[in-house]
Every structure is written in structure tokens, then in C-alpha cells.
């Protein structure tokens, strides 16, 4: 049995009476947005697990995905992607807009009141048309005013925000994938986008002079890639604490040169971790900071498969999420399981653990917790880590897992 346990803490109320696809936490307020197949987004409070608002009226078909714009001051901005092929951008003023964007996470933000008048306040700012068929996923870039969207039409679009989000302009239409593009995810520090597809491949994209193009093609999965996500900027603390030997220290340094890794999950029931091959530094070109390393370099990047997580799921894996705080990974899928993994230093004979490329891998992934039938007998479409905000929070920075299922329920799980 895994050493820890996932325990159900709460189910958001009221549940949706149709399939729910995905839930995502607000960048700084204790709010959660859930994309529902009934063409709405539910906004739930993370403090009392009650519904705060319903966003509806903008889409003709299921809302498949939604995302919050990061770094929005004084206003919440939510983008929705729908099977009707359009993207909606919705806005709502934050009550304490004068607070300079710093909102007390534990205090009475707008989620604490629950006086019900919020419903009117969400307004549809703009609809983005362009995709030919269902939008599958979308994500705002954390480092630039860009929005990425992807669709069954095999394309990834990059939109540039103009006039503080009142308008969007198409910056790039990327059409290298040979099948539906299922998911997009931005690099946390660089303007690099990852996408996963029905063609079983992962592609990485970035801007080269003035044009966006594919800078890496990651092959390995034997089925549709359902989710892609980059690691946080910092390497997990638990690895640093255990890095006593020179070998481990050197290995960590080498990894830091690669920058954040990418994790992907697939219909083939595997979860894979990919790492960038660090490029050799040019003479005299050593500026400080990560981004400068990549300036004036060859456009192409080389990524390799660093690890596969333990095989636990026995049906397609729909979502995987990497905690920015602890480095733990959580996954879920068609089998209704939620599984938590942790990367630890390998003990025992490291020589035996070279990967396919002959590289030594000093770490391994272990299962630290799992739960079956997380949403009764239904499939679970999405999981995400987020900071716990309810009164029962046990320590500063405690994280919970939020799962979103075919039963229309969104559930919160603690790790004990």
C-alpha cells in the first residue's frame, strides 16, 4: 500500500447535472472555475465549497476548457473554449481592486461573502472566432500577453492581447500536428508552448525572429496525448535536501541547466517526463539568468524522455498535474483512479538504471497515494493541485487535489 492516503474533504455544491470537464483555480483569489458540458462555467468558493456564480450564455455547445489570465490586477479574466469552435473572454471586477493586486488569500476576498449578486457581474468581453472545429484546450501565457488555443482542426493558435484584453489579434496559426490538438501548456519562464495531439506526438513551439514555429517534436507515446504540462521553475525541495553526494549535486546542476521539464499523459496509459538537452554555452556569451542562454542559438531544441512514472492506470489517462510547491504529480483518467507520485533519489545500484539513451537517472518516481472509484464508477476528466483555503487548513501552504468527473461533481482531496 502507498505510504499516504487521499481522503475526500468536500464536494462542491451544488454539483452540475451534466459532465464536468476541468477545474482551475484563480491565480490569487480563493475561487475555482469548472468547465461544464451544459455550456456553463461554475465559479465555486474554495473557502466554503459553495457555488458563487454561473457563467452562461456565450457558447452554443459544451464548454470543454477554461483558464484564468494570470497577473490581472483589479479584474478577473477567464477564457472559455467550447465545442462550438469559439473562445469566450469573460471579465469581472474584483471588489478590492484598489488593493494593488495583492489579495489576502485567507481573508474575506470576494469569495467569502456569497451574497449572490456576483452573477450579473460576469460580462462577456469578446468572442474569438477562427478555429474550424471544437476547441479542446486553452491557456494564457504566464510571461507575456498571449493566449494559446487548440482544436480538432489540428491547429494551435496564438492570440496576442491588445488594449488590456479587450481585443485579440491572431499572432500565429501552427498547423504541424496531424490530428486533433488536445492540449496546450506554456513554459513557466520562457515563451515556449507545448501541445499534445491525437497524432500521439508532443510539439514545442516558440518564436524565431518574427515567426512562431515548431522547435521540438517529442515522439514516444503510443496513443493520443491528453495532457501536457511544464514543471515549475524550482526543482523540488525534497531532492535538494537529499543531495549530499557530489554525484547527486552534479546531477541536479545538470538538470537545472535543462530548465523546467515537461510531463505528458496519454491514451497509452503512460505518463512520461521529458527534459531538454542543455545546449553548450558559447564563448563570452554567458549573461545572467535563464532566458539569455537561449538567445541567438539554434532554433531547434532537443528533448529526451527522462522517465516514465509507475504504471498504475489501466485505462486512458486524461490529466496529470505537477505541483509547483512540492514537485509531486497527480494523475487521473478513465479508470476513475487518482494517483499521487513523488520523485525521490534512487537507492541501490544506480549503474543499473541507465535510460534508453544511456544516461544515468539518479531519481525515480514512486506512488505515494492513490484512490480508486474517486467519482463513484464514473470517469475522472481532470485533476489539479491547489492551495487549501478553507478553515480546516492545517499548515501554511497545504495543498489539496481537486478532481472533476463525468458525474458532474468536483471534489477536494487531502493528502494524509
Amino acid at each position: 500500500m502507498p505510504p499516504q492516503q487521499l481522503k475526500p474533504l468536500a464536494t462542491f455544491q451544488p454539483p452540475c447535472n451534466a459532465r464536468t470537464w476541468l477545474s482551475t483555480p484563480h491565480p490569487h483569489l480563493p475561487l475555482l472555475a469548472t468547465a461544464c458540458s451544459d455550456k456553463t462555467v461554475r465559479i465555486y468558493s474554495l473557502q466554503n465549497f459553495q457555488q458563487q456564480a454561473t457563467i452562461s450564455g456565450g457558447h452554443k455547445r459544451s464548454i470543454r476548457s477554461c483558464c484564468w489570465r494570470p497577473n490581472s490586477v483589479g479584474e478577473s479574466v477567464l477564457a472559455t473554449g467550447s465545442f462550438d469552435a469559439s473562445v469566450g473572454v469573460w471579465k469581472r471586477w474584483e471588489e478590492n481592486a484598489g488593493a494593488g493586486g495583492e489579495v489576502d488569500f485567507t481573508g474575506r476576498g470576494l469569495a467569502g461573502g456569497g451574497d449572490g449578486e456576483e452573477d450579473e457581474e460576469w460580462r462577456l468581453e469578446v468572442i474569438l472566432d477562427g478555429h474550424d472545429s471544437e476547441i479542446k484546450s486553452l491557456q494564457f501565457c504566464p510571461t507575456a500577453p498571449l493566449l494559446a488555443t487548440c482544436s480538432r482542426d489540428k491547429s494551435v493558435w496564438i492570440w496576442e492581447e491588445l488594449d488590456d484584453g479587450e481585443n485579440f489579434e491572431t499572432m500565429a496559426v501552427l498547423q504541424d500536428h496531424e490530428g486533433d490538438v488536445k492540449c496546450v501548456g506554456w513554459h513557466p519562464a520562457e515563451q515556449v508552448l507545448a501541445s499534445g495531439s491525437y497524432d500521439d506526438c508532443v510539439r514545442l513551439w516558440r518564436e524565431d525572429v518574427d515567426d512562431w514555429g515548431c522547435c521540438a517534436l517529442l515522439k514516444g507515446h503510443g496513443g493520443t496525448v491528453w495532457w501536457v504540462e511544464f514543471e515549475g521553475v524550482e526543482v523540488a525541495k525534497n531532492l535538494k535536501e537529499g543531495a549530499e553526494s557530489e554525484e547527486r549535486k552534479g546531477w541536479l546542476e545538470e538538470r537545472e541547466k535543462s530548465g523546467p521539464r515537461l510531463i505528458t499523459c496519454s491514451d497509452d496509459k503512460t505518463i512520461r517526463v521529458w527534459r531538454r538537452q542543455p545546449k553548450e554555452k558559447k564563448e563570452g556569451g554567458q549573461a545572467t539568468g535563464m532566458p539569455s542562454i537561449w538567445k541567438n542559438r539554434d532554433f531547434e531544441e532537443h528533448w529526451f524522455e527522462e522517465a516514465q512514472l509507475p504504471l498504475v492506470h489501466d485505462r486512458p489517462i486524461y490529466a496529470v498535474n505537477w505541483s509547483r510547491k512540492t514537485g509531486r504529480v497527480v494523475s487521473t483518467g478513465s479508470d476513475g483512479k487518482i494517483v499521487v507520485y513523488e520523485e525521490v533519489w534512487r537507492t541501490g545500484d544506480v549503474e543499473m538504471t541507465d535510460d534508453v539513451n544511456g544516461r544515468k537517472n539518479l531519481t525515480e518516481w514512486i506512488v505515494v497515494a492513490d484512490v480508486e472509484n474517486a467519482h463513484d464508477v464514473f470517469e475522472v476528466n481532470h485533476v489539479v493541485w491547489l492551495e487549501r483555503c478553507d478553515k480546516g487548513k492545517r499548515f501554511e501552504g497545504e495543498e489539496v487535489v481537486v478532481s472533476t468527473g463525468d458525474d458532474g461533481e468536483v471534489k477536494v482531496w487531502t493528502l494524509d
Binding site: 447535472n17 459532465r19 451544459d38 486533433d180 488536445k182 491525437y198 464508477v377
Partner: protein
């Protein structure tokens, strides 16, 4: 040969040769209707609104407490009965009589571990011709029929029988893709086709 049909003269099986149970079991037939409501969330446009009423749903949740011993077991013949009566999209004939669905191509796979409650049903379909362009639609009809009729603990995997279709891989991938199936069930043309196919059931 009629124009516009992939196979204007399909082989039709003798109804007496089709597999069936000797005794009919009307009690399970009526009970199964209740479960239709469980899938209403997944395919709202196809579900009977009457079955989504709160009373039916509360009945269901009390059923869940039943132990495994009292849980209704479902066998291959029952799955066959659910799908053999589906009408072919091209012909006024059923998938059973055309040999598109066959009892021996239905497999029920029990939960993978004692902790899991999820079973799966695998159905292999045999298109009437190797180039049948409607293969994916037939697969979709079979999938929707089973997802709506079986309890939600069953995962339904519909595939094209190996060696029977030139586009089997493509069709299999589509039928196995949850997002595509969900989106297809919001497409009016496909809903109409599937509803027509399922109109001959029960």
C-alpha cells in the same frame, strides 16, 4: 446495384439463426430502463427527459449500496440483445441480421482488481463491406446504445474487427476518443443518424 450505397446487396442472416436466450427475462428488461437515466449527463440530447427526474436518480443512489451479490449481472447475450436490434444506416435491416454484430465478438471484462468496480464491454463490429464509409457511424450507434443502456460502471469499447475494414485503425481511434464521441453527440446530423438507427430498439 443501387447508387450511393457501399453495399447494396448485403448478406442477410436467417432470423432463426440469430443467437437468443431460450427464456426471455422481462424483469431485467424493465429494470435496465432505470439505468438509462444514469447516462443522461453524458449524452443529454439522447436521453429521455422523463428518466432524468430526481426520483429516478435517488432510486439509483440507493441501489448503489447493494452488495455485489445483488448487483445485476450482465452477460454477452444481453449486450447482444441491446445492439443487434439497431438499424443499419443504409438498409432497413438490423445489425444482427446483417452480421455486423455477433455474439462471439462481444466480451465482458470484469474489474481489474478487487478494489475496482469498473467492468468493460468490448464489442467488435464487422462492416458489411471492407470499404463501408458508414463504419464509424455504426460504431457510434453501438457505443451510444450501450453507454445509455448499461449501468455506468461499464466502460464501452467498440472496435472494428481486425481485417474487415480498410479504415479500421482510424475508426477505432475515433470511437475510443471520449472527446470526439462527446462532440459528435452535440452534432445535429450525427444525432439524427444515431437516433434513426436506435429507433428500432426496444
Amino acid at each position: 446495384m443501387e447508387p450511393g450505397k457501399d453495399n447494396a446487396n448485403p448478406t442477410i442472416l436467417n432470423p432463426d439463426d440469430l443467437p437468443r436466450r431460450r427464456r426471455s427475462t422481462p424483469s431485467t428488461q424493465t429494470k435496465r430502463g432505470i439505468f438509462d437515466a444514469f447516462l443522461a449527463p453524458a449524452y443529454p440530447s439522447l436521453a429521455d427527459p422523463l428518466l432524468s427526474s430526481p426520483e429516478v436518480l435517488s432510486d439509483l443512489s440507493s441501489d448503489e449500496d447493494d452488495s455485489d451479490a445483488t448487483r445485476e449481472e450482465i452477460d454477452e447475450q444481453e449486450v447482444y440483445d441491446l445492439i443487434s436490434s439497431i438499424t443499419d444506416p443504409e438498409h432497413p435491416l438490423t445489425l444482427g441480421s446483417l452480421g455486423v454484430v455477433n455474439l462471439e465478438d462481444i466480451t465482458i471484462i470484469p474489474p481489474s482488481s478487487p478494489r475496482s468496480r469498473i467492468s468493460s464491454v468490448q464489442v467488435l463490429i464487422t462492416p458489411t463491406t471492407s470499404a463501408c464509409s458508414l463504419t464509424t457511424v455504426i460504431g457510434l450507434g453501438v457505443k451510444v446504445r450501450l453507454v445509455n443502456a448499461l449501468p455506468p460502471r461499464f466502460r464501452v469499447d467498440v472496435r472494428i474487427k481486425e481485417g474487415t475494414s480498410s479504415s479500421a485503425d482510424e475508426a477505432n481511434k475515433q470511437l475510443g476518443d471520449k472527446e470526439r464521441v462527446a462532440a459528435a453527440m452535440e452534432n445535429k446530423n450525427l444525432i439524427n443518424m444515431v437516433n434513426h438507427m436506435l429507433s428500432s430498439c426496444e
